[in-house]
């Protein structure tokens, strides 16, 4: 590799490298504890909401650096309604659908002001942040409400046993007991990923869209290795946490939306140049509306995950979630001006944040200092990103 290639490599994968560095750092500081299976499992269980909300937030940020400040409150609000419904004995699926529908309605309401009336997103969602925090309080009557529906808790990642049942049974490899279902699902996922990726490369080579694919093969190999390692760790513990299914579904669906659909394309185009997009025959207001209605829907889902995780709802839940989601996007390389950013970036950003949170807890850093470290990491991450992109000017 030439020096310029090395430079480009660092530029392209700054945040992945940062992730590895942070992981190694905490690996040393915690004497390896951070990467034991249980902690990897906890990383998913405790940060599921960041992945889900970060995905929604990314679409808003893509439209031009607009953020949604209300998601924390909306998570609390939908969770509060869900908790009340479950307490009243409503069927769990009806309750979940209600939560997501209410989230969508809230998102559409805010989307209306932003897209049709041209209220700045920052202000419209700041208003929403107050309104839905207050309404959460109203719904809960100011009290904590417990959720006791066991099936719900299990499906959405709360309580003690929120893992996919091991249908296959324990498999022993090299003296280790492994969760069979988890192993098999992991293997199938890797094979599907590798197979589909290679098929696509072959098609592209044949159609002369790309000339060589060495880099792509390396990338596919690394991702496959990461999934295998991850599967192994989960299998060593209790298997696949149910939260992971929801997170995986959301990430997969939105990676598809942003990559392969016309609406996804318009999100990027509007953020890159709204006027040019409008003159290309795209109804740009619809694009804004979509982004904000959508994050409401995802906030509804996050609301369900949240009351499951805490086995109940409280009027104070969800505070600061919007900031975690925003930080995940920016750490993951989304542009603060819109137009660039990827779902894979959100994954990296959210993982990095989760890793730091957990690492700090494991090394017994005072809770007073934990936000300080998070803030500095966010600043450093974005600084590296800005600097690495600027140097050629």
């Amino acid at each position: 590799m030439k020096a310029a290639d090395v430079g480009n490599f660092f530029k392209k994968y700054t945040m992945i490298i940062a992730l590895v560095v942070v992981a190694v750092l905490f690996f040393i500081l915690t004497g390896g504890a951070i990467l034991i299976p249980q902690n990897i499992n906890n990383l998913i269980a405790q940060n599921g909401y960041v992945f889900v909300l970060g995905t929604g937030m990314l679409l808003c940020i893509l439209t031009g650096g607009n953020i949604d400040l209300s998601v924390g409150s909306v998570v609390c609000f939908t969770g509060a309604i869900g908790a009340m419904l479950l307490k009243g004995g409503t069927n769990l699926w009806l309750a979940v659908i209600a939560m997501m529908a209410i989230g969508l309605a809230v998102g559409s309401f805010q989307g209306f002001w932003i897209a049709k009336v041209h209220v700045p997103a920052f202000i419209a969602t700041l208003a929403g942040m107050y309104v839905f925090r207050g309404l959460s309080n109203t719904v809960l009557g100011g009290y904590a409400v417990d959720v006791s529906n066991e099936t719900f808790l299990r499906l959405f990642g709360g309580g003690a046993d929120c893992y996919i049942t091991d249908f296959v049974g324990t498999i022993k490899i090299a003296g280790q007991s492994l969760n069979g279902t988890c192993l098999i699902i992991g293997l199938v996922a890797v094979l599907a990923f590798v197979g589909l990726s290679i098929r696509r490369i072959i098609v592209q080579l044949k159609r002369k869209i790309i000339r060589k694919a060495t880099g792509d093969y390396i990338r596919i190999g690394l991702i496959a290795a990461a999934i295998l390692w991850f599967t192994w760790q989960l299998a060593l513990y209790k298997g696949i946490p149910t939260v992971l299914i929801w997170v995986g579904l959301v990430l997969g669906a939105y990676a598809y939306v942003t990559n392969k659909t016309a609406m996804g394309r318009y999100l990027y185009a509007v953020g890159g140049n709204e006027k040019a997009t409008a003159l290309s025959g795209v109804n740009t207001r619809t694009v804004f509306f979509f982004a904000y209605a959508n994050i409401g829907l995802l906030a509804g889902l996050a609301g369900a995950l949240n009351i499951a995780r805490f086995v109940g709802a409280q009027p104070t839940y969800g505070q600061g979630y919007e900031m975690d989601a925003i930080a995940a996007c920016f750490i993951g390389g989304a542009s603060a001006y819109g137009g660039t950013g990827k779902i894979s970036g959100v994954v990296i950003g959210a993982t990095l944040m989760g890793l730091i949170n957990q690492g700090m807890t494991l090394v017994n850093l005072s809770v007073n200092y934990q936000p300080v470290v998070k803030g500095i990491v966010l600043l450093l991450a974005v600084m590296f990103d800005v600097l690495s992109k600027r140097e050629n000017h």
Partner: protein, 514 residues
């Protein structure tokens, strides 16, 4: 030997991977107007950035001698202290602030913590009179026109006690009248002993105003021509130096193009200003275009050409529309929608490619297909391979110089960006193309290629409306020419009957009629 105010000796400036300047020499005499010409990317702006300290001493090789002394500028402030002031192509004024505030921005009168506004405005007014502006310096900049804003920039430079004034494309956004006024002002400054460097693409202006012309090509000085003789240097002579060959024919011939029946008709078209609805921006305009025909629309800045074009394209500009729009004889139902216009196979290629045309943060592929995603998708699901192939096809067709179609459009040169913009609208498969200033700010070679593309479009039976501020271009490319002034069509000429003089006379006469 003449006395040089400025000598740049053996300037070499390297960026990673590129030698932007290669042993460039420039000698400017006290009290002359020195023109710097060259194609886009030839290195003119880089050279001026070296001179003004934007690229500090040490980041380049060679010497800058100013008044015989070697200068080591670390930043713009250093060079400005010596009286070297550069006026950039893009106006650097804050629209909401007053003229006076703008002129002394970063150079405040009085104390930093207690600005002396009386002195500021008195001084500002003084310099405004020097550039022949009668406005008060207390009016906000956004209330005066672009031509006057350019003059404010010059007044601002004078306020910094400029002794060497560098004007980078000063007339690129001015109409002919304002341009001429600006050039005459330069000549008057020269009489008062000011030294100036002008960078311009407009060779007629260069020939008119410059004493000496230095030609730069591919980062090297090619020659310095003396323009003080009785006869001004011909444009062809300058172009020869710029492109390294004689451009005998600046406009490619359009051969064997059969002009067919009328496809687009606009009747009694009137459009009002979106913010001041009582103002008519387009006033009772009639025009038609035939199959395979290239129709030029000429007019001065502010004549309403862009407004006309955008109002035809899905009413994307203006309010209170009246009149009829017919395609193939059928009246098109009017509503505000760019998508509707595209469905009717109209394309509007904007004059402002960065502001209204391209998504600079995305790659060539995304930009190429943006106006017609339907062609590469099914049920809103994109077929990225097909999209990639389509983008590559247009890249080849239009000769867009790029390593791959995954290159970000923001990284391309102006000429290549313009080609991507054209590719985008050709991909939308229109029958009627409205090209608004299709060659603005691009170099001679790229211009020729764009002209060839226009000819190909006409040969394919498309209707082309070409709006341009450059008379030679309108004359060289059109079959028929409409002349617009103050929102009205004042004349229509066949290309073979039209001359620069007849067009300008029509505009001057119309202006008198008001």
């Amino acid at each position: 030997m003449a006395e040089y105010l400025l000598e740049m000796q053996g300037i070499t400036k390297t960026f990673p991977g590129v030698k932007a300047l290669d042993n460039v020499n420039l000698q400017v005499e006290q009290g002359e107007i020195h023109a710097l010409v060259g194609e886009n990317g030839a290195g003119k702006s880089t050279l001026m950035n070296v001179l003004s300290g934007i690229y500090p001493y040490g980041s380049y090789e060679g010497d800058i001698l100013y008044e015989g002394q070697v200068c080591k500028f670390a930043n713009i402030k250093d060079s400005e202290r010596k009286g070297i002031v550069i006026i950039h192509q893009e106006l650097a004024l804050v629209p909401e602030m007053t003229i006076g505030e703008n002129m002394y921005l970063g150079n405040e009168r009085g104390h930093k913590m207690a600005i002396n506004w009386t002195e500021t405005y008195a001084e500002a007014d003084k310099y405004l009179r020097m550039v022949k502006l009668s406005e008060s310096s207390k009016v906000p900049v956004n209330t005066i026109g672009t031509g006057k804003q350019q003059l404010v920039e010059i007044a601002k430079a004078l306020a910094k006690h400029a002794r060497l004034l560098i004007l980078d494309e000063p007339t690129s956004s001015l109409n002919e009248e304002d341009s001429r006024a600006l050039l005459d002002l330069m000549l008057e400054f020269k009489k008062q002993g000011m030294t100036m460097i002008i960078i311009s693409h407009k060779l007629n202006e260069v020939a008119y105003v410059a004493d000496k012309i230095t030609v730069i090509r591919d980062g090297k000085t090619i020659e310095t021509l003396d323009n003080r003789g009785a006869e001004p240097i011909s444009e062809a002579r300058i172009i020869r130096g710029m492109v390294g060959r004689e451009m005998t024919n600046r406009f490619p011939k359009r051969e064997n193009v059969a002009i067919g029946s009328v496809r687009l008709e606009v009747e009694n078209w009137t459009v009002h200003h979106p913010i001041y609805p009582e103002r008519k921006v387009v006033d009772d305009v009639n025009l038609y275009v035939r199959e395979g025909e290239v129709v030029g629309i000429y007019g001065l800045m502010g004549a309403g050409r862009t407004e006309l074009a955008m109002s035809i394209f899905g009413q994307s500009y203006g309010t209170h529309f009246s009149g009829k729009l017919k395609i193939d004889g059928k009246v098109v139902r009017q509503r505000r929608s760019e998508a509707d216009a595209i469905r009717h196979r109209i394309a509007y290629v904007t004059e402002d490619r960065k502001g209204n045309g391209l998504v600079l943060s995305q790659d060539i592929m995304v930009n190429t297909t943006l106006a017609n995603l339907g062609a590469v998708s099914k049920f809103s699901i994109l077929d990225k391979d097909r999209e990639h192939e389509a983008a590559m096809e247009y890249q080849r067709k239009l000769n867009i110089k790029t390593p791959s179609v995954e290159q970000l459009v923001g990284n391309l040169s102006g000429g290549n960006q313009q080609k991507v913009l054209l590719a985008k609208w050709m991909f939308a498969e229109p029958d009627i193309l409205i090209l608004d200033e299709p060659t603005r700010g691009i170099d001679v070679g790229a211009k020729y290629e764009i002209y060839c593309i226009i000819n190909d479009l006409a040969a394919a039976g498309k209707c082309v409306i070409m709006i341009s501020s450059e008379l030679p271009e309108v004359l060289g490319m059109s079959d028929r020419i409409y002349i617009m002034n103050s929102g009205r069509m004042i004349d229509e000429m066949k290309a073979e009957d039209a001359t620069q003089e007849s067009i300008m006379t029509a505009i001057v006469n119309a202006g008198r009629g008001d």
